[in-house]
């Protein structure tokens, strides 16, 4: 598990997972899209509490390796300001066969999105901004 404020490079990350025993590679990427719940998004800010995000992310990956017969798995998440189209999170999994690569990749991204202390603040074209999923804890954040 890695947190980075620099650009995520899926091609380089993929290369690090190559393995003669691997027959399947599944990757997931989360991209910044221009619209969320009907609001036009200008850019996005990820606040990451790294000490816990890295430990908990590594727990998630270890769980995936335990649950599914995969070969390798990695996850990288961005922090800081991101523009539309940028890659916010990448997950890559290799295995002998594709069933387990799909299942493990899905498991990792689902758990990472729910368990890691990572918050997303959207800046809208209309001028205001807000922490996603956190309406009642930051009502002053306009």
């Amino acid at each position: 598990m890695q947190i980075t404020s620099g650009e995520i490079r899926p091609d380089e990350l993929r290369t690090q997972l190559t393995n003669r025993a691997a027959g399947a590679y599944v990757s997931f990427e989360g991209w910044i899209r221009d619209l969320n719940e009907g609001q036009e998004v200008l850019r996005l800010e990820y606040e990451v509490y790294e000490p816990v995000a890295i430990t908990e992310g590594q727990n998630v990956i270890d769980e995936a390796v335990e649950k599914y017969p995969i070969l390798r798995a990695r996850c990288v998440h961005r922090s800081g300001l991101l523009e539309i189209g940028e890659c916010a999170v990448w997950v890559g999994v290799t295995s002998a066969h594709r069933d387990e690569a799909f299942a493990a990749c899905r498991y990792i991204i689902d758990q990472v999105k729910h368990r890691l202390p990572i918050w997303k603040k959207e800046h809208y074209v209309e001028g205001h901004s807000g922490w996603v999923n956190c309406e009642r804890c930051a009502s002053h954040a306009q």
């Binding site: 990820y46 606040e47 509490y49 000490p51 816990v52 430990t55 908990e56 999105k113 729910h114 368990r115 890691l116 202390p117 990572i118 918050w119 997303k120 603040k121 922490w131 996603v132 999923n133 956190c134 009642r136 804890c137 930051a138 009502s139 002053h140 954040a141």
Partner: protein
Amino acid sequence: MSKRVTIRYFAGFRENAGTGEEVLDIDVSNAGDVFRALQHRHGSSEPLGHCKVAINDEMADWDSVVRDGDTVLLFPPVAGG
């Protein structure tokens, strides 16, 4: 019995509290007590069930015991989706 506890706020909680960290002497036994005390202090209405907590950089439960000198990290709901 009062304990000296460092509280750290993140994202919306930090903006709501107007600070990222404060040290308080409070009468609490577990993490849930800390959450409720701070909710009252800062007027946040985010339900505890949507939030998470860590103690000294380890993920914890709301009934995890808080000891004197601990750092309690209050995590508002994450982006999810």
